[in-house]
């Protein structure tokens, strides 16, 4: 996977593409204002990242921030940048995790190239203003660093770019973790009831219901007589 092309290392990084909606159609004075506003927003949001982990690139209608080895940081940056939309910056954001490579001959034309940037730009192009979309590969990168976090990214369909490549895209939904937690809690309770019930059922089948109930009642009496809680006692035995 270590890719070296023409002497330049190709790395996999998260690319946050911040695209200003309808930028080319806006009056030039507004373009200059929006550009300054975007630079301010990037300065604030990128300050949270380690300087050795982020590379800021210019695009004609926005900016791209390449985040090295920190998909979570990239997601945070994108989400914080979206708040800038509330201040009148019409941002559409696309995130992708893909290949980037240093490019340029070192005469002031240094930059980054690669599919990672191209796909992020395409995803941003597809997003509506004030929206954040991520690619499948970014979702996988999130899952790698923090399993479970990727479930926040709900499928938003797929689209085909100008180069006829189809991209599967996802949109974050912050209500998902709570819903998911509730679902897992319910499943855990159901599984517990089912498994304990199965044990009770097996015992009843082996000894008969009356014998089982009288044995439980006797144990309950014994433990309470000893000043202990029957249920606590039962749990401590189960906990190995």
């Amino acid at each position: 996977m270590a890719l070296v092309t023409n002497g330049a290392t190709t790395a996999l990084a998260s690319v946050v593409f911040l695209k200003m909606h309808e930028f080319p159609r806006r009056p030039v004075t507004e373009q200059a204002r929006l550009r300054a506003q975007l630079e301010a927003a990037v300065a604030i949001t990128a300050a949270e990242l380690d300087p050795a982990s982020r590379i800021v690139l210019d695009a004609a209608d926005g900016a791209a921030v390449v985040v090295l080895g920190d998909p979570l940081g990239a997601l945070r940056l994108a989400e914080r940048s979206l708040f800038a939309a509330a201040a009148g910056l019409p941002l559409a954001i696309g995130i992708n995790h893909g290949a980037v490579q240093l490019a340029g001959a070192g005469r002031g034309d240094e930059g980054l190239a690669g599919d990672g940037i191209a796909v992020a730009a395409n995803v941003a192009e597809f997003a509506v203003p004030s929206a954040l979309l991520v690619s499948r590969s970014f979702r996988d990168a999130l899952a790698d660093v923090q399993p479970g976090l990727e479930t926040q990214m709900l499928s938003a369909g797929s689209f085909t770019d100008a180069g006829l490549r189809t991209h599967e895209i996802f949109a974050p939904d912050h209500r998902v973790p709570r819903r998911r937690h509730r679902r897992y809690l319910a499943a855990s309770i159901a599984a517990a009831i089912l498994l304990v019930g199965a044990g009770v059922g097996a015992r009843i089948q082996a000894e008969g219901q009356e014998k089982f109930l009288s044995a439980v009642a006797a144990k309950y009496r014994d433990t309470t007589a000893q000043g202990r809680s029957y249920w606590r006692d039962l749990m401590s035995k189960v906990k190995f």
Partner: protein, 382 residues
């Protein structure tokens, strides 16, 4: 015509020759009726009778339209007519320098260049309002008068030339370097084509480079239609960001996203000019007071702009932003450390063990099932 020594064309008395071009000769002439010295531009007519008839009709139409344009930034056409095998236009005689000559003398000051461009844009706006499109805006067709006033020359001439004056191989004569993409493609043109051409002229004035230069006409045509320009600020750090945007908008390949109106372009250029002049004033004030002006304006030495999102292909690159210091990260990317192994690896799929050990939901389900299973077993075995 060139060999024959002319003393009179129409009612105009020839005084001398001002210059020669592909279309004919420009004379200094005198109008005896008004006792006025004019520039008399002659245009060689086609030998073919049919072609000449067509040409004749169009020439008078265009010349009439151009004659209606009286504006401080457009050379006034006084009169037009036909004599033997050439047509002529009597125009205002200007004592100045062609912008082409001025550009050859050396780089123009940015404010001066923007001033010229906004004057030309004003002139174009006036002509466009009256339904006249120039079609051949280039430095050779802009005259700079001694006080800095710019005047557009040859309104209405370009169309005559492009339609009638072709080489034997069928190639249209002219200057494709300043043509708009739609003009190069032979599509119908409107006022936005002039705006593109003016954008090219402005670009060349402020950067001192030939924007769509090429070895031959097809190469130039390809560059005009396909090559995105490098932002002027990248070639000249004194170019303010707003001028970058104005040039970018004028040079849009798609006329629909270009300036739709030359006046709109002129307004933006005036704003740029105000910024440039205030910067100059601030600089002079600083010198006068013995202080040193330090440029902290983010618009100077700004980063180059890259192609718009939709045009980024995998083989194109985005430039590093000069507003942000990315040196440490670039170094890390250039020579990854051992701990950066992850930068070279694809994300791993999350397996069962990792899932139940890290992901809270599955971990809860797994552990509760495990405890419940143990409890069930304990109960079952008594």
């Amino acid at each position: 015509m060139a060999k024959k020594k002319l003393s009179k064309i129409g009612r105009y008395k020839i005084i001398g020759e001002l210059g020669r071009g592909a279309m004919g000769i420009v004379y200094r002439a005198e109008d005896p009726n008004l006792d006025r010295v004019v520039a008399l531009k002659t245009i060689l007519l086609s030998d073919d009778a049919e072609g000449r008839k067509d040409y004749h009709k169009r020439f008078f139409l265009e010349a009439k339209a151009a004659g209606k344009l009286t504006h401080p930034h457009i050379v006034t056409t006084y009169d037009f007519g036909e004599e033997e095998d050439f047509a002529f236009l009597a125009m205002e005689l200007l004592e100045g320098t062609e912008l082409r000559t001025r550009m050859k003398e050396g780089p123009l000051d940015i404010a001066e260049a923007v001033d010229i461009a906004q004057q030309v844009a004003d002139g174009l706006g006036f002509a466009h309002e009256r339904g006249v499109v120039h079609r051949d805006i280039k430095p050779g067709n802009i005259m700079i008068l001694p006080r800095g006033q710019a005047k557009i020359m040859d309104f209405g001439i370009a169309r005559m030339r492009s339609d009638d004056f072709k080489t034997s191989t069928g190639i249209v004569m002219g200057t494709p370097r300043f043509m708009s993409p739609e003009q190069v493609a032979g599509e119908p043109v409107d006022q936005r084509s002039d705006i593109f051409s003016l954008g090219v002229v402005l670009y060349e004035m402020i950067t001192g480079t030939a924007l769509f230069a090429g070895e031959d006409t097809p190469q130039i045509a390809h560059n005009v239609t396909s090559v995105e320009h490098t932002p002027p600020s990248r070639l000249n750090p004194d170019v303010p960001s707003m001028l970058d945007f104005a040039v970018a908008r004028a040079l849009k390949k798609d006329p629909a996203v270009r300036y739709q109106d030359a006046y709109e372009f002129a307004v933006d250029l005036r704003t740029c000019l105000a910024e440039l002049r205030s910067r100059e004033t601030a600089g002079k004030k600083g010198e006068k007071e013995g202080t040193r002006t330090v440029k902290i304006d983010s618009t100077t030495n700004r980063a180059p702009l890259a192609p718009a999102a939709r045009s980024i292909a995998s083989d194109t690159q985005l430039p590093l932003s000069k507003q942000f210091d990315s040196f440490a990260a670039v170094q890390r990317l250039n020579a990854p450390h051992r701990r950066d192994r992850k930068l070279l690896q694809l994300p791993r799929p999350v397996g069962f063990l990792r899932r139940v050990s890290v992901d809270a939901g599955p971990r809860l389900l797994f552990l509760s099932s495990l405890v419940a299973a143990a409890a069930g077993l304990y109960v079952a075995l008594g």
